[in-house]
């Protein structure tokens, strides 16, 4: 089976405001999708609807993950099924270390105890890849981290938890050129024929390093156009103005 995610005519709202208005999206294994849209188009709502945030209610439609409707399934179980969300603003959690979180998360997801030695080796490897000092493993999660470090830490979590479907919510925003390169490198190493990545962005920084199979334009809660990488270039050159006409017509 090749199909990983199928979003069918989804309407979703937060605090009584309807944000997604009949969204459709299909993601197969091995694919990289980019979703572009201006502020308020519904990008983060889409990410949170896939992950099951309690404040975002799906009012109609279906979200199928590996052919199972996950709309009524809690967030932690979705994560255990293999969905991962890289946050736009990762939470700071005093008292829980980077390594502590990863160990708890990995145990929850695999349902097996951790082999500490190989886990540590793996963690060290990923820290190096994302150009973190080893000492970060013992630091409290995201506490005192710069914006870029928080995003890089999300990528480390992604790599160690090895999900099937990854949603990167504005991972490139606030990153400098070097950090974009480092993060993209991590994503490229993670990516294979068995998993898929959805990149939500409103700019193009990461697209120089990641080769998207599809680019979608999200406006006013709907995908209004789908194309290949060249569509992204079009948006970068001309903005979203052209697509807004599509919505109106």
């Amino acid at each position: 089976m090749n199909r990983l995610l199928e979003i069918k005519d989804v309407y979703a709202k937060t605090e009584e405001k309807e944000i997604l208005k009949g969204l459709n999206l299909t993601v197969n294994k091995g694919e990289v999708h980019v979703i572009m849209g201006s502020n308020g188009a519904g990008k983060s709502t889409l990410a949170n609807a896939i992950m099951g945030h309690p404040r975002y209610k799906v009012t109609s439609g279906e979200i199928l993950f590996e052919e199972e409707n996950i709309i009524d399934i809690k967030t932690d179980e979705r994560a255990r099924k293999g969905i991962f969300l890289s946050f736009q603003t990762p939470e700071e959690v005093p008292g829980i270390t980077v390594e502590g979180l990863l160990r708890s998360a990995r145990m929850s997801i695999t349902g097996k105890p951790i082999k500490l030695r190989s886990f540590r080796t793996e963690l060290k490897e990923k820290l190096e890849l994302l150009q973190f000092d080893e000492s970060y493993a013992a630091r409290y999660l995201n506490v005192g981290f710069s914006g870029g470090e928080k995003k890089k830490n999300e990528i480390i979590q992604m790599m160690l938890l090895n999900p099937k479907l990854v949603v990167l919510d504005e991972t490139d925003s606030g990153l400098d050129v070097d950090a974009v390169k480092i993060v993209s490198n991590g994503i490229n190493q993670f990516k294979n024929e068995e998993n898929a990545v959805i990149i939500i962005t409103h700019n193009s920084k990461m697209l120089e390093y990641l080769r998207p199979d599809y680019v979608h334009i999200l406006l006013d809660g709907k995908i209004v156009k789908t194309g290949d990488a060249s569509l992204a270039k079009e948006v970068i050159d001309n903005g979203f103005a052209d697509f807004k006409d599509i919505v109106r017509s």
């Binding site: 967030t75 932690d76 994560a79 959690v93 829980i96 708890s104 998360a105």
Partner: protein, 468 residues
């Protein structure tokens, strides 16, 4: 989803709740009378000055009112408290001579194991008397004394007479007056000049007898440049009657000496814990308090540091966990009475299921204590809308050349943090437990390892099935 519901009153506290049969060789009648006190003093074959001291304290007790602030103490009825319960054994220095049942209790509490593995000496009190005391031979050779107060008063009468309840006089408040009248058991530690005791000493206080009071007295003297880590543990099984704990701790820290005093208090929920602890610190000396309050129905506990000499230091690290029907009023007091003295206070409290956790503390800086420094940080976490948390800091600063910082935070577990952890596959319940453990983590790091483990277990026990 099926949820496991645990009612707090029925919490299985494991070993802490194992009740032994109430065996004793002697027990006073309930209530507080002159006869009871004379009786205790006679049983202990004390010197006359101590008998007089007790009677004078009783007189003070009868004259002082209950505190007009803090939790209500209406349920305390001294007529129903058994003041003195002598266990059915003598003080022993050999475990094998401790009666089987008592030995078994301490075994389960892990005391002899800790002694073998990580302690330089151990004292164990059961109800009103110390049943076991030991100290490593090489410390004895260096002149270190670690013994029960009853032996100390015979063997080191001059020292005890000089120091006993001089730092905490019976006139201070009602419960130290009570303590002065009825004290029994506790430990005496003396570390001579320049001696550094690298491995901790630990005294454990177990109250088994229902409706009884425990009034142990701990007196520690550190001579110049001496060093010690003293650990105090306490617990009791739960009964339906009120038990009372009114101990007293006096710590004398001489020039350049350092004392770390760690406590994990895990009394049962029928206990009124009205304890008084005080340290006086001379020039360049340091007191480090580490305090964990988990049990009891009501606690009023404010360890106090008097920084008497230049450059004396006090550090206080405390955590309080108040569950259903618990009112834990805790904090610390510091008096900066000399120049260049410094204090650091860091407290955390967790309240849940209607529990009340109050931080109450004071920092006083006298006129002459220029360049005094104090940093105070109090954080509270409330796990539900039923629980209460308060911070009552008092600052009394009497000169201008001081540096004082105060920070207080009262909060709840953030939904966003729970969601974040859940996106990593962690269940809601475990996410909350992780956040609470994380909140307590900086304090756990200060605790002796086995107590840190115990604290985490307690948090787990407290949270299981009760939130989410």
């Amino acid at each position: 989803m099926e949820k496991k519901k645990t009612i707090i009153e029925d919490l299985d506290r494991g070993i802490y709740d194992i009740k032994n049969e109430d065996k004793f060789s002697y027990k006073t009648k309930t209530g507080l009378t002159r006869e009871v006190i004379l009786d205790i003093s006679e049983k202990k074959s004390e010197p006359e000055w101590m008998t007089e001291f007790r009677l004078k304290s009783l007189q003070i007790y009868n004259e002082i009112e209950l505190p007009a602030w803090g939790p209500a103490l209406d349920e305390l009825d001294m007529d129903n408290i058994v003041i003195y319960v002598k266990p059915d054994t003598q003080m022993n220095s050999d475990w094998s001579e401790v009666p089987e049942e008592i030995k078994d209790t301490f075994e389960k509490l892990g005391i002899p194991k800790a002694e073998r593995e990580s302690l330089a000496g151990v004292g164990a009190q059961y109800d009103s008397e110390v049943v076991y005391h030991s100290i490593k031979e090489d410390l004895v050779k260096q002149g270190v004394i670690y013994t029960d107060m009853e032996s100390a008063i015979i063997e080191y009468e001059d020292i005890i007479k000089e120091y006993f309840m001089k730092l905490v006089p019976p006139s201070d408040h009602k419960f130290v007056a009570l303590h002065g009248a009825v004290w029994s058991g506790g430990s005496f530690v003396y570390v001579p000049e320049g001696v550094e005791v690298d491995i901790p000493l630990q005294s454990y206080f177990r109250l088994n007898s229902p409706g009884a009071g425990q009034f142990e007295h701990t007196l520690i003297i550190l001579e110049k440049n001496a060093k010690l880590h003293f650990i105090e543990g306490c617990s009791a099984p739960k009964y339906n009657v009120t038990n009372l704990h009114a101990g007293c701790v006096e710590l004398y820290i001489k020039e350049g000496a350092t004392l770390r005093y760690s406590t994990i208090e895990n009394w049962s929920r029928n206990m009124l814990n009205l304890n008084t602890k005080r340290a006086v610190v001379e020039k360049n000396g340091t007191i480090e308090w580490v305090s964990g309050s988990f049990g009891s129905k009501i606690s009023m506990l404010y360890p106090m540091s008097i920084l008497k000499g230049e450059n004396a230091k006090s550090e206080f690290t405390g955590i309080t966990f108040a569950g259903k029907d618990q009112y834990l009023d805790t904090g610390t007091k510091v008096v900066h009475a000399a120049p260049y003295t410094s204090s650091a206070i860091s407290t955390k409290s967790i309240s849940k299921s209607g529990g009340t956790a109050v931080y109450r503390g004071s920092v006083t800086v006298t006129e002459n204590a220029h360049h005094a420094k104090s940093v105070i940080s109090c954080e509270s976490l409330m796990l539900d809308d039923l629980s209460r948390s308060d911070t009552i800091p008092v600052l009394d600063i009497r000169n201008n050349e001081v540096e004082i910082g105060h920070e207080a935070k009262i909060g709840r577990i953030s939904d966003d943090t729970i969601y974040y952890l859940m996106t990593r596959g962690i269940s809601e319940e475990e996410a909350k437990a992780m956040i609470v453990r994380g909140f307590a983590d900086p304090i756990a790091k200060e605790l002796p390892l086995e107590y840190a483990v115990e604290m985490n277990n307690l948090i787990k026990l407290e949270l299981e099935g009760t939130i989410g």
